[in-house]
Symmetry: C4
Subunit: 200 residues, 4 copies
């Protein structure tokens, strides 16, 4: 099976996902003359949107690079890819929760929102690891190895960060939020580190 | 006519459909401090979303595999494909109904929602059968037969499951829901069974 | 300039447009136990959705066939295509108006909604005619003529139907609605008639 | 790395962005019989939608033309492209603000909305300039120079227009709106001027 349609379908899902995120970052109809107050009050929401946007963007970069090395697809890879895209769509849900919690700054709500986002991030890392594992055990599908020793520890590190975020959320919800943010930034750094040799 | 645009357009519709489903699975703005209660109360909705997502995913897998064997498209195939995509978009509507009914757990509403979903699933199966029938009677459009004896009974089996779900809904609405779920799972199993010989 | 991106972009817009139309055809949260009443009351909305879906579908079929004959694109064709896609997105707005008017069946509202839909349909026909005219006066962009004598009268006929619908709306709003429906059905028939020779 | 997926992903984001803009230009459910009043009252919103649509359209045209000359992509170009698409998605947010402000015509709200739109437009121009600068300093990625002397001043001119719009908004909010509109029209004119030699 050719890989063109799995790429087109995935590009479509990533493109829609990354674009509809902006619909969450939305002004709410209020009394005339309150727009400035409302816009400045949406700074936390802007940061949430910015983070989620570049999270999906990083996921697309990884997906793009993995499939650059894929020569053809199989039924198992198609299904693993559907699972991966499913976990990615949940970012929309968890971003909604964080946006709602940041509007009221209620601590209990923020904890719930951050934990759900952490769990979604863990599921996404797991689904990427499954694709990665499948491709490295089916070398006939790829042009050459897409693995490197450091990458094998990466899912473990991000798992530790998101796990800490969940545990810490019972102590201090803001630190939990910062750890969640660090986890997402870590993916981007891991991506850049993986790509650096190819840049030279 | 080349088949590239019918694939691109269909991939686009499937990608949008599967991604906007997540918009139904959405937190509703409530009083601060009630987010945990709301998230745990959305478990039935999560199952509905999960099911609908993998239903659309399975439809994409079938579509992908059928068109792998299609060499070129015709006006009739373009129109049949538009009908197929139309029935698929109705999943969004019927999932909305199920989500609304599962929020209140009102039995009359659940029956209506399950029956509408059953009817939509029957229409989808019918439109896939039409494409399948058209392609098998126009062998010049495909590289080789895309049929196998077992597949001819599959639409009949799924029709029986969805039909039973409709009838049973007057007796017990929960069994109707389980039968609807089984119908969708059956499509996925039918897909896997069709693909298994190709995996070896 | 290659034509692949103009096709991909247009396919994307058509795919999104045709899929988000279903979001208009949506259950509204009501009291538990009223879902059956609500679903049966949405039959006019279902017909509106069905009509608009196949209207956009027919526009895609025309677009697909025109660009099958296009060998390469130009800046002017890109801009004309953006205008065409703009008029097509307005279907979403006019379908919303019709859906709102059909919920209350208020005659004044129905007249406004049908007239707006008629105007949008006229703008769409005009933008297709512009593309068609541009391509027939730039034969170096196409592989061979994409015109036929009958097609030259088609925009005139559909213009007459939509124009009558607007005028008749002051006499009887239901006949205006039927004329609007006929105008859309006419496009589909015009498409089939254009394609028939190619089917043999 | 091949450039096909970065184009497909970008086309997807542009197509979704340009299509969901129409969702902002939407009738609001009102009392029966008030639809005419509502539709005529939405003229400023229609102009906002029209402007934003052709703004995104012009951005797509520039993107399309730049990447026509790109032979292959790099990690840095992928990331710059994600930043560019991010700034473009913010058009949806700023258009929402303008639409809300134009419904009430509150001067303070209009100033906020126009300033936010100006800032978004400045960020978009900056991100295009970054891509443009990257491509002109990495000639090995393109087939030939995609620059011309006049284009180097264009970002400066549009920066001046949007900057004036921000400053003028404290004196007269309507002139600020007109300057914002001029800035967007300027992009289209700059695009046409760049393409004119290629048209001959």
């Amino acid at each position: 099976m050719s890989k063109s349609r799995i790429e087109a379908f995935s590009d479509g899902v990533f493109a829609i996902l990354i674009t509809i995120l902006v619909l969450e970052f939305h002004p709410v109809a209020g009394r005339p003359g309150t727009l400035l107050h409302q816009v400045t009050g949406q700074m936390p929401l802007l940061i949430t949107y910015l983070t989620s946007y570049f999270y999906v963007g990083t996921l697309w970069l990884f997906h793009h690079d993995y499939f650059t090395h894929v020569k053809r697809t199989t039924t198992a890879l198609n299904i693993l890819n559907l699972i991966l895209l499913f976990t990615a769509t949940l970012i929309n849900y968890s971003m909604s929760l964080v946006a709602m919690a940041l509007r009221t700054l209620n601590h209990a709500d923020m904890q719930v929102a951050f934990i759900v986002y952490d769990i979604v991030a863990l599921l996404i890392s797991l689904s990427y690891w499954l694709i990665y594992h499948y491709l490295s055990t089916h070398p006939q599908l790829t042009d050459h190895g897409i693995t490197s020793p450091t990458q094998r520890i990466d899912p473990l590190i991000s798992g530790l960060i998101y796990g800490s975020s969940i545990l810490v959320s019972w102590l201090n919800v803001w630190i939990a939020g910062v750890l969640l943010l660090l986890g997402i930034v870590f993916h981007f750094i891991a991506y850049l580190r993986m790509r650096l040799p190819a840049m030279h």
